[in-house]
Amino acid sequence: MVEYKKGQGVLNSSKIKDDRVVIRVGYGASGIAAGAGEIYSAIVNHIKEKGYKNIDIKRTGDLGMSFREPIIELESREIDRVILGNVTAKMVPGILDDLMLSKKVNTDYIVAGTNYTTDDDIFFKKQKRVVLKNCGIIDPENIDEYIEADGYKALEKVLKSGDPDGVIDEILKSGLRGRGGAGFPTGRKWRFTRDAKGDYKYIVCNGDEGDPGAFMDRSVMEGDPHSVIEGMIIAGYAIGANEGYIYVRAEYPLAVKRLRLAIQQAEEKGFLGNNILGSNFSFRINIKEGAGAFVCGEETALIASIEGKRGMPRLRPPFPAVKGLWGKPTNINNVETYANVPRIILNGAEWYSSFGTEKSKGTKVFALAGKIVRGGLIEVPMGITLREIIFDIGGGIKSGREFKAVQMGGPSGGCIPSELLDIPVDYESVTKTGAIMGSGGMVVMDESTCMVELARFFLDFTQKESCGKCTFCRIGTKRMLETLERITRGEGKEGDIEKLEELAYNVKMGSLCGLGQTAPNPVLTTIKYFRNEYEAHIDEKKCPAKQCRSLIKYVIISDKCTGCTVCARNCPVHAISGERNQPHIIDQEACIRCGICYDSCRFEAIEIV
């Protein structure tokens, strides 16, 4: 539902006073995957064809409304600002003609606006965008747009102050904690590295984003790369480092491209390089592309990987702050941590710490995915409840199913059940559930996800990604995985749950890095909150969520089957047969239980037993 209400929408007013028109296409990896490239070409072509003038087309990063992508934003004096969602190339000529000739927009397409209220407004209303303030708004490939949005002013401020210690104090006072997962106070880490003895120091940005189901750091690197770079330069100044590395995950080519471009533009403008802005401080940044190893997100492994070695973690201490890259004191922070820095310096520690809770200050970016209505990228003040995130911002569960659990922290985290939806999201409260805050991945699950199978999925992941150095992590996770595989195949035995718990304890205790120390969390939290599902698999050989392929059968209800043949045509193993217009039948021997027939049947004629 979209209603015209002057000035009541979620978007700020446009500053355009003349005849200019701005069109922004959501052009991050997610937008592009949804079809933004086609939309962009359609816009350019139609403008050329009609000879429209005075239009500025920008390609921005992802705004976060993945659930409406591809999206475009229109801005002009007449229509103010509106965001259109689920745009197709076919819609583009009409949208542009309306905009340029009759100066209006088709309200059917509006998902947010300055003068429109919509059902999606709540997606923005409960957010507080500090790190994401430029994402989806500015063109990340144009440094001038960052500068116009107060970019590099924080750097100017600290260089003018001439007081590196003051910078660290400010970060300490803000209460900022590392956003890479563990939540270590950033100011304290900076202080350690500043105080460490060494003639040369390094700044490293961890953009490895290993949680398979999260994309906060990707979105920030693609949508606002300069904020990360500015944060790193400020860290370099505060700590006394003159060189930095950004380590980016292999699967993020667009982030690499935009970071490279941003570094080049910052060098041209004198924000990077020798004697930055006329000061005696010099700093340069290199980019390293990861090569696909989850453990390389761990800081000592990441450092080994930058050095060109196998990415194996090592025992700490010495911490990287004392002995890091090439043996030199090294400050390593996450992408989001650095992106917070310019905002804090510019607006003050007090402003930043006015958001959040006593021990978890500020805001946190989350990637909402899974069986949720409004999946996308959000930023909220710490202390908001899970329920508000999932049911207000996220709009609840898709296709009318029931919420079952939310997975936080990826392979190191756990599943939080519905009873705990009212906990505030801060480091301590989330840790108490057995999950962890993690870097911000939130995968929402409904009743159709089997919790035992999910635990198996994560163990399969960590077992493969274990670097093999510690025996418990290497073999313990393997034994846990085998046990979970047996249970999901219906071959579970009495005592399996206890065996899993014992192995979990030993893997936690016997591993030197966070990978092994946290790998059992997905198993432990699912046993804690969904023990009955484990028992159903083991005792009754049943999968209550009807997901485990060995424990279910797909059968056609002949009364309901119309013989439309859709399922037979879609079956990847050709296990369905029957005459057209006659009830079909599934050959249980051939069936691999993929569920494609179930999903493709329009007559609800297939059931899972």
Binding site: I32, A33, A34, A250, E251, G308, G370, V443, T449
Partner: protein
């Protein structure tokens, strides 16, 4: 063993070898050019840099990005991250396996497609997601995959 043109490799090795920690970037550039890491090239890399071949291979095999066999013209990476997993990634893989007649890690006889799994492509809200060479496809279902593969086959 297939004959391969070693010239681009030598050029890469000479260009990349100038700075510290350049082994992984060099391997990445080689794979970008050849689609995989050919034995002959690794041997040259070892000779030119003085890094023992065992150490080069030790590093390369640690990272899942590196391949040691030639790949097809189109590399299909099916995302099996958490969001894609609970949104039917296995089903998506079933469809690819059926359509192409190959399993993960294999290449079709015509040299057109290689099938791989990947941990997450960072487009989790569009799950299930697949990447074919540089292009990412989201919100997939069996019939969309059929169309996409037909398109690639037509292109040849």
């Amino acid at each position: 063993m297939d004959k391969i043109n070693l010239e681009p490799a030598i050029e890469i090795i000479e260009r990349e070898n100038s700075h510290k920690g350049s082994l992984i970037p060099t391997l990445q550039k080689i794979q970008e050019t050849y689609g995989y890491l050919p034995d002959q090239v690794l041997n040259i890399l070892s000779k030119k840099t003085g890094i023992p071949a065992s150490q080069i291979l030790g590093t390369a095999t640690f990272y899942s990005q590196f391949r040691f066999k030639p790949v097809g013209k189109y590399v299909i990476k099916v995302c099996h991250g958490t969001a894609c997993h609970i949104s039917g990634a296995e089903q998506i893989s079933d469809v690819f396996r059926d359509l192409l007649g190959i399993k993960e890690g294999e290449t079709t006889d015509d040299g057109l497609f290689t099938l791989e799994n990947v941990a997450c492509l960072g487009c989790c809200s569009l799950a299930p997601v697949v990447m074919i060479n540089e292009t990412t496809y989201g919100r997939l279902n069996p019939s969309k995959i059929n169309k996409i593969i037909k398109e690639y086959k037509k292109r040849g």
